[in-house]
């Protein structure tokens, strides 16, 4: 009995494959496995490439920041785990030379620093610089151009840091882990770690960050972290990778990762949808053979064995072909990208293959479950009464089985409940809405589908008659279109946001310490040379002393140093205070009102002016709206009331301030000014000329940083683009397969119409109308539910501001109707080319 079932299953499989009868379901599985494999393999490889590349921005794969000296045993242990390590110590310290002094950011690095990325140095100030593998030798210091300028020193001169003297041997242009909050930072000084002790600047009371760098394979890194984690103290230690780094790079990379994940999940759903459609078709095609076998005495058991075996054969074949196709496709894209993304993508990941195989088999088995159950229930009486179908009516099993399977797959793959739940629930809602629409169509079909025979009426009549059968089709079209919309629109929004972050002409130089006298002169001077200074920010140095009259203990920025790799100098004992009528670009009031909008400002007594405080600082120092803050500015005491809290993007490469005070409050202080301007690369040589009259003004060059940022964002965008294209290809194939499958169902009807002498034009017209109606409906519903899932995804997962995309409410239905009807027309034409007897012969 077993043997007979196997023989029959194998025979059916062999013949049906050869005769092309399994093409649709086989294609669906190939597509499923192929797209899941190529997408997830590609995105994992791309992701590890991007992470590797962006790791340069923290100089390592992982970083451990500590407020206490680094435990040497931890470093030794890291080496045992096969990791490379390096160390660096940061502190702020005065640097003396020529009787001048300047606060600087002191970095003492071990000989292996940096593990990722390179240091750039030069021999002259404000030059482009070149990469170097070297580090300062014993007794040497590399210092930034600004420091050369402000201390009025040159290479070879001596500087004094704490108790030690150093010879300046290079101009430090760039370190990989400098961060992106360039403004306000003190100039950097790089010395060997071994010389640090001599300076005696790290004694008790000084604020020091000890950093350990680690790099190695992600498996080793994870193992090491598992070992290390129990020993870490949240108060003292912070472990981070580039994704945790709240920098533009970190954000871009982690967002891209989420996008890749999203795309892979969508591939899984697409795969499931195409298999579901194909499985239904497969089952319908086998009603007759099952009826015949049952008539001839086959037991239910045997029929089940035969068809389960056949599905297994198909699945195995589909998985094998799909894996090859997916791998080749992915490899082609990798080769195509090799020139644009200059990171090696040789790493092989097993997870995508396993996921692809799982997706293929689970989808194939679970999605054919209901159609197969239906198939098994076909009555043998069908051999006499041809119209008898299967008599299993409950769709609940189908929905629960397939829905549950998809959800579990998505969850298992993404390990992210939020994304899975969002995609899944919008999918479920879409299905429910479409079922409603289906009943609407049935009703409409009854209304429109009567009367004289025309293509329009024929189409409606057909929709009416087959509405329930075709609801699966409508649902699959709509889900496919919706998924494509989600990846498309998400990509557009994301890339748009990245571009907005750094538009062309973003200021690439900052000027600090412009005196009031110099301000207009500088403006004119720059204008004459056609360089546009964006804005002058008045700055007053003040000391923040009390909240509501209560003295604050120490400096504000203690934790702040560890909070932001790059924001560590944002606020010392002295805070930069600015005043402004308008909110800076990139900032957002999160509580209270901006000065001129504040309803309070008129009612308060005239002495009490407003201040706007950066949100996170306010949170840390427990500053509330309405609190009174006290600053010492020069010899005066200024008291201001908190009227608003602001969310500040410290990584925006723009001037940012913790405190912005209402202009009137500081009107009688003499400020210095801070300004930024954009200078195109080809004009870089004019810089010296430009700055010549303003020797006392400090110039900060962030051009290289912006370039790096642009470069990585471009690569990430490109990667996202390719993923989008892969999904679009997979989605289109699914659509083609769906239309093909539905055409197959229509074949019989077409043959009959043809036999009855219906004109080709009428048939074509009616098929076209039908597909247009289905495409329009699917597209419209897809657009609606696209908004829903995008809103949820953007607000819950991508941390973006969600907005509506009205244009797609129009584009989606039109494109849906066009594409679906075009594909439908294409396969309809093909059918009509065959002669009628051929058509009739093909059907049983």
């Amino acid at each position: 009995m077993k043997q007979a079932a196997f023989n029959l299953a194998w025979r059916l499989f062999k013949h049906e494959t050869k005769r092309g009868e399994l093409t649709i379901i086989l294609l669906a599985i190939i597509l499923a496995v192929g797209s899941v494999l190529s997408l997830s393999l590609f995105s994992e490889r791309l992701q590890s490439a991007l992470t590797a590349k962006s790791a340069e921005f923290i100089a390592a794969d992982r970083v451990l920041d500590s407020r206490n000296p680094m435990n040497e045993q931890w470093l030794a242990k890291a080496n045992e785990f096969g990791l490379q390590t390096a160390q660096q110590v940061y502190t702020r310290s005065m640097v003396f030379a020529n009787d001048k002094l300047q606060l600087s950011e002191l970095r003492a690095a071990s000989s292996t620093y940096p593990l990722k990325g390179k240091i750039k140095v030069s021999d002259v100030a404000f030059a482009q610089g070149a990469f170097t593998e070297a580090l300062p030798q014993e007794g040497e210091a590399w210092i930034e151009s600004r420091l050369l300028q402000s201390l009025d020193v040159k290479l070879g001169d001596e500087i004094e840091i704490g108790a030690a003297n150093f010879t300046i041997s290079k101009v430090l242009v760039e370190v990989p882990d400098a961060g992106f909050n360039i403004f306000g930072g003190d100039p950097k000084v790089l010395i060997p770690l071994d010389d640090l002790a001599n300076t005696q600047v790290t004694g008790p009371g000084s604020r020091v960050t000890y950093t350990a760098f680690f790099s190695g394979s992600s498996a080793n890194l994870n193992d090491y972290y598992d070992w290390l984690r129990p020993q870490l103290d949240n108060e003292i230690h912070r472990w981070k990778s580039i994704e945790d780094d709240n920098s533009p790079i970190g954000n871009a990379v982690s967002r891209a990762e989420q996008y890749f994940l999203l795309a892979s999940l969508l591939a899984i759903v697409l795969a499931a949808v195409s298999i579901a459609v194909a499985a239904q078709r497969y089952s319908q095609r086998h009603y007759d053979p099952v009826a015949i076998m049952k008539t001839l005495g086959a037991s239910k058991n045997m029929v089940q064995q035969i068809y389960l075996l056949q599905i297994i054969f198909i699945t195995v074949l589909g998985i094998i072909i799909g894996s090859v196709v997916g791998f080749v496709l992915q490899q082609l894209v990798v080769w195509a990208l090799a020139d644009s993304i200059n990171v090696s993508m040789d790493a092989w990941h097993w997870r995508p293959l396993i996921i692809a195989i799982f997706t293929g088999s689970i989808c194939a088995l679970l999605f054919s479950l209901y159609p197969l159950l239906k198939l098994f229930s076909v009555s043998p009486l069908r051999v006499l009464r041809r119209d008898l179908g299967a008599n299993l009516s409950s769709r609940i099993i189908q929905f629960i089985a397939s829905g549950g399977a998809i959800f579990l797959l998505m969850w298992a793959y993404s390990e992210n409940l939020t994304i899975s739940a969002i995609l899944f629930s919008s999918g479920v809602l879409l299905v429910l809405a479409l079922l409603l629409v289906t009943y609407g169509l049935i009703w409409l079909g009854r209304a429109f589908g009567q009367g004289r025979m025309s293509a329009w009426r024929l189409a409606w009549a057909r929709i009416h008659r087959r509405a329930l059968d075709n609801s699966v089709q409508l649902i699959s079209f709509a889900i496919t279109i919706m998924l494509l919309l989600v990846v498309l629109v998400m990509r557009n929004d994301m890339v748009q946001q990245w571009q907005d972050q750094l538009p062309q002409g973003t200021p690439n130089y900052f000027l600090v310490n412009i005196t009031q006298n110099q301000q207009s002169e500088l403006a004119q001077h720059f204008e004459a040379r056609k360089v546009n200074v964006e804005k002058f920010y008045p700055v007053v140095r003040g000391r923040f002393v009390a909240i509501n009259g209560e003295k604050i203990r120490t400096a504000v920025s203690k934790e702040d140093e560890e909070q932001q790799s790059s924001g560590r100098d944002g606020l010392g004992r002295e805070a930069n205070l600015t005043w402004s009528d308008e909110l800076q670009t990139g900032s957002r009031v999160t509580a209270g009102h901006w000065f001129n909008e504040s309803p309070l400002s008129d009612t308060l007594d005239t002495e009490q002016y407003g201040v706007s405080v950066e949100e996170r600082l306010a949170e840390r120092l427990n500053i509330k709206l309405g609190d009174e803050l006290t600053f010492n500015i020069g010899s005066e005491v200024v008291q201001v009331r908190v009227t608003s809290l602001r969310d500040v993007n410290w990584q925006s490469m723009r001037p940012n301030f913790f405190f912005v005070i209402e202009p009137k409050a500081l009107a009688h202080f003499v400020p210095t000014y801070l300004a930024s301007f954009y200078l195109p690369k080809e004009q870089k040589s004019e810089l010296t000329q430009l700055m010549l009259p303003f020797a006392s003004v400090t110039l900060i060059d962030v051009d290289a940083r912006i370039d790096q940022l642009r470069n990585i964002v471009e690569q990430v965008s490109l990667a996202v683009e390719f993923i989008l294209i892969l999904v679009l290809i997979a989605g289109s194939l699914v659509l083609v397969a769906q239309v093909q499958a539905s055409m197959d169902e229509r074949q019989q009807e077409l043959a009959i119409l043809r036999t009855l002498g219906a004109k080709g034009r009428l048939i074509r017209g009616s098929v076209l109308c039908e597909f247009i109606i289905i495409g329009l409906t699917a597209g419209l519903m897809a657009a609606v539910f696209n908004e829903l899932s995008l809103y949820l995804l953007q607000s819950q997962v991508f941390q973006m501001e969600a907005k509506l995309h009205w244009q797609y409410w129009f584009i989606a239905p039109v494109a849906g109707a066009l594409v679906v009807s075009f594909l439908g027309a294409l396969s309809c034409w093909r059918l009509l080319k065959l002669n009628t007897s051929h058509l009739l012969r093909q059907m049983v």
């Binding site: 007979a4 009826a291 015949i292 076998m293 008539t295 001839l296 005495g297 009555s379 009464r385």
Partner: protein, 232 residues
Amino acid sequence: MTPIKMISTNSISKTVSTTQGQLEILKPISFDVSEGESIAIVGASGSGKSTLLSLLAGLDEVSSGEIFIDGQAMHTMNEEQRAQLRGAKVGFIFQSFMLVQSLTAIENIMLPAEIAGLNDARSKALKLLQLVGLDHRAKHYPNQLSGGEQQRVAIARAFITQPKILFADEPTGNLDASNSDKVEQLLFDLNRELNTTLILVTHDPKLAAKCQRQLQMHAGALSEITSSENAE
């Protein structure tokens, strides 16, 4: 000797429920068929011939009454048991041939034998294929054969398990005169050779006349017309 009763029915009826309520498509019918007998069921379209056939063959369940096939009480059986009975004792020929489209001619013939778990399915099938004159088309698929050829394959398939009863619903209904003759010839030859009991539904009076007995269906009721002169 008294002939063994191959089929025995005791007031079987069939009622179906429709949107307009219960519909009795077969009124209580009782008749017996002896082993080796050939019976034609004739009647107008819609009179219930196929319905009767489906009950006798165990493809459908009776609403009331009793059916015994070769002494076994089929009306008490479930679908599984009926399938087993069909596999063991019954052969079928249909108007629309009912070949499995994705199996070749020879494989279609082998099908019942394989389902029944017989050993030398292929050699038996080949022999039958020769008998129906299609051995050169063994590897052809049904849609590569003409209607007559397909029906000959179906006949070969019906006989491979050497069934005790053969049911044929309009076996020549889709065929032209010369093909019909060929098919009829085969059917009766094999029937006689294997001493099969034949129940045949037909519109064709000529074909009906070749059977030993003719039963007339009329609006769900059965009446016997003749015992044919062939009867011994």
